[in-house]
């Protein structure tokens, strides 16, 4: 068999204007087997590997996140140092942003400016989505650190300020002024903030995993924190037990209910009426380390989607539930499904 034969195939032509859900499948580090699954919640139809099937181009190595801006999808491919841009209706590739060291997420400031966080660059790349070029960098280096700080992860915007969490061996949320492209403040949270959301009151919620047991950076019990709109002080709302590893903080479309994974899927009302409660139980028993890997909530229907990477070396699963945790559907994805991206109907 020859490579040429393998890569020369009849490609399907898609045109799906309806709303839907993309699942980014990370694939395995260094294997270049990341992929994109598309799911139509109305028909429950699953479109496997849509990016590759449409374009005869693999996504690359470790698809970390995806963001939609207008009709275009931006898939951040971490270990390929690039962002692929495609039409979310036809899945046709429209371009790419390259020259990124180890990109994680993209956040749009305007039609001509977006930020790309990075694990290793110790800076946030400023890119122009219109020209698909890197136009600058916001240094975030903490040169006094022993722990390669800062790596930057998710981004949320309140007013002109973009907040980004520094997860790896770190405990900061940096505040960037999107007009001057500078870090203007930093907020100390607990060790290893791994995910953040903004609620309906523009309160920033931060979930910290507390670090890894035995790590030289140290550990502490994980916690859920909140930062009031415009504030630079974090308040601990809930403290987990040592050894727990909460991840994937998400919020519903109404901005009043938080969801996260801590073995099982938990839910928590932002008004703090009750403690976090188990919404969906994990099928994994005991201390099995595999299991639920990705989580998100449909901003319109508030349905909950949970990604299960199983053993990380086979096609994973996505479980779809109602907002009350009633199972609705399951479907197979690519390898190591980690992220979701909800597509509104494309006019």
């Amino acid at each position: 068999m020859k490579d040429d034969q393998l890569w020369d195939f009849e490609r399907p032509v898609y045109d799906i204007p309806f709303n839907g859900i993309f699942v980014t499948n990370e694939g395995n580090f260094m294997y270049g087997n990341a992929s994109l699954t598309y799911y139509d919640p109305e028909t429950r139809e699953v479109y496997d590997d849509v990016f590759f099937n449409t374009n005869a181009i693999p996504l690359g190595d470790v698809a970390h996140s995806m963001t939609i801006r207008d009709s275009l999808g931006y898939v951040v491919v971490n270990n390929s140092g690039r962002i692929y841009i495609f039409n979310t209706r036809t899945f046709e590739m429209k371009g790419k942003i390259t020259g990124l060291t180890s990109p994680r997420y993209i956040h749009f400031i305007s039609e001509t400016k977006a930020y790309v966080t990075d694990l290793y660059a110790r800076s946030i790349a400023v890119v122009n989505p219109a020209t698909m070029e890197v136009t600058g960098a916001i240094p975030v280096s903490n040169s006094n650190s022993n722990f390669y700080q800062h790596s930057t992860e998710q981004m949320l915007q309140y007013d002109r300020f973009v907040y980004t969490n520094c997860w790896s061996y770190d405990n900061q949320v940096l505040v960037i002024d999107a007009e001057t492209d500078r870090v203007v403040d930093s907020i100390e949270v607990l060790k290893q903030p791994n995910s953040m959301v903004l609620d309906r009151h523009q309160t920033l919620w931060v979930l910290c995993d507390g670090g890894v047991e035995g790590s030289p950076y140290g550990t502490e019990p994980p916690g859920l924190l909140k930062i009031g709109a415009g504030s630079t002080e974090a308040e601990i709302v809930h403290r987990f037990s040592s050894g727990e590893m909460p991840t994937e903080l998400k919020i519903n479309g109404g901005g009043d209910t938080l969801y996260f994974i801590n073995g099982d899927v938990y839910r928590y009302a932002v008004n703090g009426a009750t403690d976090p409660e188990v919404l969906i139980e994990s099928p994994y028993e005991g201390t099995m380390v595999t299991g639920f890997y990705g989580l998100d909530v449909d901003p319109v229907s508030s349905e909950v989607y949970v990604a299960d990477a199983i053993d990380f070396v086979q096609r994973g699963m996505v479980y779809r539930f109602t907002s009350e945790g009633v199972p609705v559907d399951t479907f197979r994805t690519g390898i190591a499904p980690g992220g979701f991206c909800f597509k509104p109907a494309v006019p």
Partner: protein, 665 residues
């Protein structure tokens, strides 16, 4: 002791003098022979499947790495991460740490990772290469659930003092230099081998991992890229000293030191800045072994002590604006092992023989990453005792019972028994039916237990239970020798350790697999001569079913009953070597069926390691010019320029050539 059939001048120079193999020690070994008939019915080897790689093969592959030789000439599957890059073994479908590797009797598996990188072992330093398949490896040590690979050096007591030099020049700026000096007499001998290998390794390939979009038409094409950041450098020294104060004992001291520096290529799909994601690995190895062997009327006594030290440095650098190149990973590890063996064997000449061995080993390791400050230190004491008794009945039946008891850090490992049997079907004919049944254990490596983060101190040893049977036949007829062997094996491995990524963001090892490995190994070899013409034809075929039978993790887990990743169901190779006067010609063929990269064995067009067939040829001439023995050889690898992959998205080189020049005084 092998029986000499005939003696000939070896094609090319005797960088690797051919030898006879047998169970007796090399002190009685005799000089160069081209065809030897190994005894295949030996009570000390009853039930054991072994492969002694032919000296002609070692000679032919002298400028390559052991990974190349194993994949091209044996049934061991090599998972190769690229030309010159990490190459690990899978013996009978098992994992890399299930193959135990020794150099002159000391184990050289990394106590940290458990495995051996065969790309770092030059064939040039090997005089004898022995493979013990499956439970046969219990004759030397435990842990070789797949088998063992044993590298030996030996004294050439009757050789004259000599100097030999070999120069290889090949595609992708590949330069190989080997120098050998042997001096001494029949009492004391010294042999020194120096080598230096470098390759820029910059072959080109069509990069399907990167898209070029035509700004006008929108058409997508793939660039032709160079295999950048893949250079390798390796140099080393092997020094052997042998002393034979009397006819019945011999002392030897051997040192092997090596330095290897490799850049590790970025993913082929990487489109980040040029000076980011730069990976480099440096391996420094020192190995020293001394032994004393005494042959008395009561039997043979052997005392051996060895040391293996390794330093492995790995770093990843990225460009940070305003700061320059900054390490994101700067990992240094140190591994030191001490080995001591005392063994006694007797009765090898009679019908009943016995053997007792005590091994006392100590490992100490440390790993630290100066960026994250993560690391660990660990150590391990191993005490292993083995007692074997072998009995032969009328040259028709051999029985072999080996019992092994080990203690690790003072804790007793479950008892490891082996029972093997040979039956000679027809008196006087080398047609032998053989079989064995055995248990085996493989301890978690120190990384498995203590790696930071992820190490799991609660891991259990992997436990193997193996049965195998086969038939071996050989026939020698006036200068021609036919050898063939067919083996079937079935091995249950419980508590199989795999590292899996966890939601915590790092990998953790778990005893979560139960693996049933079963298969067929078949090899056939025919060699001989007609006046000035000589030939050697050999082929191996392996059918390897290595199936996960562990409990599914969750209802949707589709890995149950599926072939393990990266293990081909079918693999085989052929080699034909023809010599005519001063001329010689070799044809090498290897074939592998598809390997799966998912535990569920899903195959997609996007991710395929499709079957491939490799054809290599070489031709040369050896001649004498006054006192100089000279030889010139041209090799063409991947003759048909076939595209192939051994891991996903890492294309292997197309047609490439090598010129090898040898000179010896």
């Amino acid at each position: 002791m092998g029986r000499v059939v005939w003696i000939m001048a070896v094609a090319g120079l005797s960088v690797f003098p051919l030898y006879s193999q047998g169970i007796q020690d090399s002190v009685y070994a005799i000089e160069e022979v081209a065809i030897t008939v190994e005894q295949i019915f030996v009570k000390e080897q009853a039930g054991m499947k072994q492969t002694n790689v032919d000296s002609m093969v070692l000679h032919n592959k002298v400028s390559l790495s052991l990974s190349d030789l194993l994949s091209e000439n044996t049934s061991v599957f090599i998972k190769n991460h690229g030309r010159g890059a990490l190459a690990t073994a899978s013996f009978r479908g098992t994992s890399a740490s299930h193959t135990q590797v020794s150099w002159n009797g000391i184990n050289i598996n990394s106590p940290m990772a458990g495995m051996v990188d065969f790309s770092l072992i030059p064939v040039y330093i090997i005089d004898e290469l022995n493979l013990k398949h499956g439970s046969a490896s219990l004759a030397d040590r435990s842990g070789g659930i797949g088998g063992s690979i044993n590298i030996n050096n030996r004294a050439e007591w009757n050789e004259k003092s000599s100097v030999g030099y070999l120069q290889g020049i090949g595609s992708y700026s590949t330069f190989d230099e080997f120098l050998q000096v042997g001096v001494g007499n029949s009492k004391i001998r010294s042999k020194t081998r120096l080598y230096h290998n470098y390759s820029k390794n910059d072959y080109t390939f069509i990069n399907h991992g990167i898209a070029i979009i035509d700004p006008v038409s929108g058409d997508i094409t793939n660039p032709i890229d160079t295999n950048d950041h893949a250079a390798y450098l390796r140099y080393g020294l092997l020094q052997e000293i042998y002393y034979r104060p009397g006819s019945n004992h011999v002392v030897s001291l051997k040192y092997w030191g090596q330095f290897a520096d490799r850049t590790i290529p970025k993913p082929t799909s990487y489109e980040g800045p040029d000076n980011s994601n730069l990976n480099n690995q440096v391996d420094r190895d020192h190995r020293l072994v001394a032994d004393w062997k005494y042959y008395g009327d009561f039997g043979k006594v052997m005392v051996r002590s060895g040391y293996a030290g390794k330093r492995l440095d790995y770093n990843q650098m990225n460009r940070v604006p305003g700061l320059g190149l900054i390490p994101a990973i700067w990992s240094e590890s140190r591994q030191q092992s001490l080995y001591n063996t005392l063994s006694y064997s007797g009765g090898t000449k009679g019908d009943l023989s016995w053997e007792g061995t005590i091994d006392l080993n100590y490992h100490q390791v440390g790993s630290a990453d100066s960026v994250s400050s993560a690391g660990y230190t660990g150590h391990r004491n191993e005490l292993s005792t083995m007692f074997a008794v072998r009995k032969s009945f009328n040259d028709r039946v051999n029985l072999n019972l080996m019992l092994r008891q080990e203690w690790v850090d003072g804790k007793r490992v479950p008892f490891i028994p082996y029972f093997g049997m040979d039956v000679r079907l027809i008196q006087g004919v080398d047609l032998v039916v053989k079989g064995n049944i055995a248990r085996n254990y493989h301890l978690p490596t120190l990384n498995d237990l203590y790696w930071q983060p992820g190490g799991n101190p609660g891991l259990l040893p992997e436990e193997g239970f193996t049965m195998e049977g086969g038939v071996a036949y050989q026939q020698e007829l006036s200068g021609h020798l036919l050898k063939t062997e067919l083996s079937l094996y079935r091995s249950h491995i419980e508590n199989w350790i795999i590292w899996i990524p966890s939601y915590r963001g790092f990998w953790e090892p778990r005893n979560i697999r139960r693996v049933l490995s079963k298969g067929v190994e078949c090899n056939i070899e025919l060699q001989g001569y007609f006046s000035e013409f000589n030939y050697r034809l050999s082929a191996t075929y392996g059918y390897t079913s290595a199936v996960n039978e562990g409990d599914p993790l969750v209802w949707s887990d589709e890995s149950y009953g599926k072939q393990l990743v990266y293990i081909p169901l079918h693999s085989g190779n052929m080699m034909a070597h023809l010599g005519w006067g001063n001329l010689f010609f070799t044809y090498q063929y290897s074939a592998y069926s598809e390997r799966c990269t998912t535990s569920s064995n899903d195959v997609t067009r996007r991710d395929r390691l499709y079957p491939y067939f490799m054809n290599d040829i070489s031709a040369g001439s050896s001649f004498r010019l006054k006192r100089l023995d000279l030889s010139l050889e041209v090799k063409v690898n991947n003759l048909f320029n076939e595209p192939y992959h051994t891991i996903l998205y890492r294309p292997m080189p197309g047609r490439n050539w090598q010129l090898v020049f040898k000179i010896q005084i």
